[in-house]
């Protein structure tokens, strides 16, 4: 009988061998292969890679945990992230593919015939990508520190080395095929425990059905009704209704939707398929692959909630003796992510939403601890560790590529040194990726105390800047550079001011009574987007229309015919 640690070494080690093997096999030879995998990737393969790219450590590790604690309100992430994908697939992907260049700043710069616009877009892309990649590195660190029992620093360094190796060597081609492998690993890691637990709790093999089914304990009570009952008993808001106001849920969902639609590392994926038709199809496949995880997550959240409350409070809801605490509690206590304080000094643990509560439980551990809570075999727990690492690595690789492309291509080649050769550009791209890995690793080891705030920031900024500029660029031929730039700047300023005020300057004032229209800083990107659209429309009508060649370019991206492979300039 092997223990968790040995299994983790074995499974995570094997998955690393696989990723590196693929990277060596698919080494990039030219800038084009480095940026877009030679444009020759099958739509289903590309869809799978996009899904791995999209599902970050946050989706894998944190999301089900968040939902588990938020109940209904957790739907903002589910609908926000998948709904944003629909926007991307319908309104952006096919047209950007026809446009046929590598990056979002390229589109903004060419469409708005302005180096200023290009530079603003490059800076936004780099900022958003760094915010993300730091979170991914942190995720790798957490997984390693728990399951390999090394400190977080060693865990992050290990992750950095692996990502560096295959992102820098392989470029987009290597990344695409590695991500396919990572998708398979992370889906298995997510589904296996979910299915096990679904069978244990409800007797259903498919978690999506088990989620709505009756409990297998013979009581005939539905899982969700049981959770609502427990929530009421323990002083939480009902699981199926949540605590946020309707308007806030609406705005947060919308901000996440438009924010994710503007994420540069996902958009760039649509340049790697040969045709516009394939870009459309591969978006559909990607959403299927994503939906598998996103519909399982709320089920996992519900099961985990029930299991956690039952193991801590005991079947009779009187609390479990601390001396008999299950091993997952003691294991996670060592990492500091679970804490118990015996307030009524009865030696029993108790978890509730009111003054009887004695537990501190970090939301991020739910998915990782879930198989332990349910007492699943050690190899399942190791598999979850490998899945978490796969999710973090696949997303960081995609992001690193965006960072290095932004620097070598958008900043150097298009701006500062237009005459560098293909070979030099590739060298700059690789060095930029190397530097980016180091910075990301540093941020992972010493995370700024405000990671969560920074993430809200990144989404808000993407929603209020990129999204309207791209949409208007495609669907409104008359939009000119003055409108686009003033729109982006005012949307950005509006959103940034609101977030900085409530998150950094005066966090104490961040309560619903003080929010404009009851919209929290997480949801303000939606208002910022509206501001952007409004300003852009007004300014555009007061200034001259864009030149004829730009208008012709807009005409030509509106139909698929004649889309060659993505072009190097």
């Amino acid at each position: 009988m092997m223990d968790i640690r040995t299994w983790t070494f074995l499974i995570v080690g094997l998955s690393f061998v696989l990723y590196i093997g693929i990277a060596i096999y698919c080494r990039a030879g030219s800038t084009k292969e480095f940026y877009v995998a030679g444009g020759g990737v099958h739509p289903i393969v590309n869809g799978m890679a996009t899904a791995a790219d999209w599902m970050s450590a946050a989706s894998f590790i944190s999301m089900a945990g968040l939902i588990s604690f938020m109940g209904y309100d957790g739907a903002v992430y589910l609908m926000g992230w998948t709904g944003g994908y629909v926007l991307l697939a319908l309104c952006l992907a096919p047209y950007l593919r026809k446009f046929g260049k590598f990056t979002v700043p390229d589109f903004i710069g060419d469409r708005y015939y302005s180096q200023t616009a290009r530079t603003v877009a490059v800076i936004c892309a780099i900022f958003v990508s760094f915010t993300y990649v730091a979170g991914q590195m942190r995720g790798v660190g957490v997984v390693f520190s728990r399951f390999l029992e090394v400190d977080i620093t060693t865990g992050v360094l290990l992750g950095m080395a692996i990502v560096f190796f295959y992102a820098v060597l392989g470029g987009m081609k290597g990344i695409t095929y590695t991500q396919v492998a990572q998708y398979c690993v992370l889906m298995m890691a997510y589904l296996v425990p979910a299915i096990f637990i679904s069978i244990m709790i409800t007797g259903h093999v498919i978690p999506q059905f088990g989620f709505g089914a009756t409990l297998a304990d013979g009581s005939g009570v539905h899982l969700l009704d049981k959770l609502d009952g427990l929530s009421a008993e323990l002083g939480f808001a009902a699981y199926t209704s949540g605590t946020k106001s309707t308007i806030d849920v609406l705005f947060i969902t919308a901000a996440l939707m438009v924010g994710t639609a503007g994420l540069p590392h996902v958009i760039v994926r649509f340049f790697t398929v040969p045709k516009v038709k394939d870009a459309r199809k591969s978006a559909g496949w990607a959403l299927i692959f994503i939906a598998v995880l996103y519909t399982t997550a709320p089920a996992v959240a519900g099961f985990a909630r029930l299991n956690m409350i039952n193991t801590i409070n005991g079947a009779d809801s009187q609390g479990t003796e601390y001396s008999e605490a299950p091993t997952w509690v003691t294991n996670w206590e060592k990492t500091g992510l679970i804490g118990w304080e015996d307030k009524n000094e009865d030696g029993r643990m108790f978890y509730s939403g009111d003054e009887r509560n004695e537990m501190h439980i970090d939301r991020d551990i739910m998915v990782l601890a879930n198989p332990e809570i349910a007492d699943l075999p050690a190899w399942v727990i190791a598999l979850v560790a490998a899945g978490g690492v796969a999710a973090a690595l696949s997303t960081s690789a995609g992001l690193l590529l965006v960072i290095s492309t932004s620097i070598s291509h958008d900043l150097l080649k298009r701006n500062l040194m237009p005459n560098i050769s293909d070979k030099m550009e590739l060298r700059y791209a690789r060095s930029a990726a190397a530097v980016a890995v180091c910075i990301a690793g540093y941020l992972g080891i010493n995370p700024p105390g405000f990671v969560a705030q920074v993430v809200a920031f990144a989404f808000g900024l993407a929603a209020s800047s990129f999204f309207p500029a791209i949409i208007l660029g495609i669907f409104y031929k008359r939009m000119n550079k003055y409108g686009a730039i003033t729109g982006m700047v005012s949307g950005l300023l509006f959103t940034a001011t609101y977030i900085v005020y409530f998150k950094f300057i005066n966090p104490a004032a961040s309560v619903p009574e003080n929010w404009w229209f009851g919209v929290s800083p997480e949801g303000i990107g939606t208002l910022g987007m509206i501001v952007n659209f409004a300003v852009a429309a007004v300014v555009c009508h007061l200034t001259p229309p864009p030149p004829q060649d730009v208008q012709d370019m807009v005409e030509s991206i509106r139909y698929p015919q004649g889309a060659g492979e993505a072009q190097v300039h």
Binding site: R280, G284, Q561
Partner: protein, 88 residues
């Protein structure tokens, strides 16, 4: 100009936008509508053990999204062929 005439180009784009808008209408209806604004009202109904509004918010909207994209792919390919602007 890949279209045979300017009018055809306009007509193609109008049909395209119309398709987009109708799909986005459904997109908004299942997420913002059923999942959020009307969730409380729909929660009166039971659906395979779920309250209906809750189901839309955490499951149904996502399934609908997947279907929407495939409908879009199918219809757009047909539209491209109709106007003869598909890729070779």
């Amino acid at each position: 100009m890949a279209f045979h005439s300017k009018e055809l180009a306009k007509a193609y784009w109008r049909e395209n936008v119309k398709l987009l808008l109708s799909l986005l209408f459904i997109w908004a209806l299942v997420s913002f509508g059923f999942g959020i604004l009307f969730a409380d009202a729909l929660n009166q109904f039971q659906f395979f053990g779920f309250k209906l509004g809750f189901w839309f918010a955490q499951q149904g909207a996502i399934y609908t999204f997947v279907v929407l994209i495939f409908v879009y792919v199918y219809k757009m390919n047909r539209l491209d062929e109709k106007y003869d602007v598909q890729e070779d």
